[in-house]
Symmetry: C2
Subunit: 414 residues, 2 copies
Amino acid sequence: MSSSISAQALSELNPLPRLLMGPGPINADPRVLRAMSAQLLGQFDPQFRQYMRDTQELYRGVFETANTQTLCIDGTARSAIETVMVSIVEPGDRVLVASFGRFGQLKAEIARRVGADVRVIEAEWGTVFDLARIESEIRAFSPKLLACCQGDTSTTMLQPLAELGALCRRYGVMLQVDATASLCGTPLPVDAWQIDCVTGALQKCLAGPSGIAPITLSDALCETIMRRRHVEEGLRPADYRPGAGRIITSNYFDLAMIIDYWSDRALNHHTEATTMLYAARECARIFLQEGHAAVYARHALASRAIVSALEAMNLRIFGDTSNKMPNVTGVWIPDGVSGDRVRTAMLDEFNIEIGTSFGPLHGRIWRIGAMGYNARRDAVLTTLAALETVLAGEHHRFTRGAGVDAARAVYQAG
Amino acid sequence: MSSSISAQALSELNPLPRLLMGPGPINADPRVLRAMSAQLLGQFDPQFRQYMRDTQELYRGVFETANTQTLCIDGTARSAIETVMVSIVEPGDRVLVASFGRFGQLKAEIARRVGADVRVIEAEWGTVFDLARIESEIRAFSPKLLACCQGDTSTTMLQPLAELGALCRRYGVMLQVDATASLCGTPLPVDAWQIDCVTGALQKCLAGPSGIAPITLSDALCETIMRRRHVEEGLRPADYRPGAGRIITSNYFDLAMIIDYWSDRALNHHTEATTMLYAARECARIFLQEGHAAVYARHALASRAIVSALEAMNLRIFGDTSNKMPNVTGVWIPDGVSGDRVRTAMLDEFNIEIGTSFGPLHGRIWRIGAMGYNARRDAVLTTLAALETVLAGEHHRFTRGAGVDAARAVYQAG
């Protein structure tokens, strides 16, 4: 035993039983935790390769796509966004970012770092874009790639995407959608909506931990990537010819090599994060077993219950409520109430976490999530009852019990 | 339930009870699996921030360093190597790679992709470098950074490093050591050996899954990185001034931002991979509770047992045995024996995985690992007994029972 290490650091892991009702991460479904407790397999074990193929198939189901290249990136959500960008964008390529919150800013940041010529169009926080504006920007800028969020958790807004893919195809623009925060909380039929690329995450509506990110890539987008295929020294097959395109400036995020690794040729790349792959597989299984429609309805119901409750508590919902994400709700912190003190009381006294937001919204709104495993009646009602108690202690004026009763009524109406 | 998904993909995760005795990944310590089954916490939960600080303290213990910047990268081992390189190397900077196997090639590959002017010096596979050669290359090339493996699992060789850090400091060269495969299997006192940067992994001697990578960075190296600090839009503190150095061309691998995220200022970056952080913390706890000397002795004993057994089975150890990694042993596949058929029989009939190697060694050597949780007498003896059975079936000539008896004698002598 190393004597210089503190007793705290050496203490047994024993997290408090938090109920995570913020913008994510949320609690993992216990089934996912059980799957992650399974013993490891070698990365080229036939059974493990089968689990990888299963995972691909399951996420094709999740994404409602026939895309062969549906797989996982071993990193958090933003690693998947960067993987796609660095593998597609060559220095000077034009990237248009439609930003309606902090995670739009993030995509612009990543695109600039990988060398793109970036134009950002912004929608006021709390609103989304109409298609005409995006179309005129595409005409003016002629980007190679358009990147945008489906749901930007920083503002709780949900960009309608049903027509955007077709618009992009008309102009020969590739569309990259960041569905980190929305995937499995709201419809995203990738093929029907003609989206070239979607990146996701587990820690929101999929009810798993962060650390692995499912993605899907259209065949056309993969062609662009495979033109840049440069297999690393020591692994080149006998028939290897490097792609004509410029080498991708990251090894870890080289999608051509990641595709080779996931393919039946199984060219070595990273060592697949076994436990996270187990988690990704289990999250998709749970989602598909419940079924798309049922899961979306469960999130929509929770959203209605929360909105009704907050309004009944004399609070004002943030932003354009007709384009609100179903899995997270922004609400203005009332005058005279300390947002941080409320969050601290919720956490310390009730073990319930809710969030605030970033930048101009920091300390001005709370974000209350109900997603994945936590988009449950008991979790929603418990959170609202706790919030009422704390708000009453802050002398916020509202009819005590009105919030939780309103939510309960929404659930009883179904 | 989505009807188009196969029953296989939807089947319950249920991995076979493999004993992973190859070059890694190996089996996770059951304590690590239990830690990973703990429920999630929010990334800014005070308890979770404490777990992050614990993890930093524990890895300072593991690395025997006082380095403040000792933390984890949310990706596999190679992501940590790339994180360091992209954060230090500016285009055209000289990087010298001392390569003695496939994972030396990998570092050269990563360095080239991030824009370095790379010179590779190679030691024949199965050997290591002497310091005089490295010194003359440093004098000739004047690199900013020298990168090398401690142990390169592809060849099972272990580069002596005790004097290399001091040599690099004499010439003003930063030293990056890739200890993915050797960390916790053999001494690596980072401060005593004056190493600027070490990257590791869990899936070898630390007995956890891949997907998160502990690293440690000297203060001097951090100064170089922080000169390139550019905080992303939307997160910039009031007192923010961008660093004078060139912006790091990756967002996910931007060590300045990762350091800010891990620091008490807790600037948002990725969403920490909660479950993998739990795993990293538990792996380090287990290691430190057993103690450096005891763990290294356990690996050395397993290595002696395996070498004795293989020699007694009329097999020839690969490479320079005086510089062999203690946690993995390379052995020539005897003439007339199919290496793949033996590995398949081991896997199918005994649920035991051993490895072959890459490139010129593929199909010519086996690699037998005994590391982390699997550097145990029962695992070693069981593996050797199985190998004897399979080799006898392949008509390899040796005295049946000689191998496992030799290993047992080594263990009995202690």
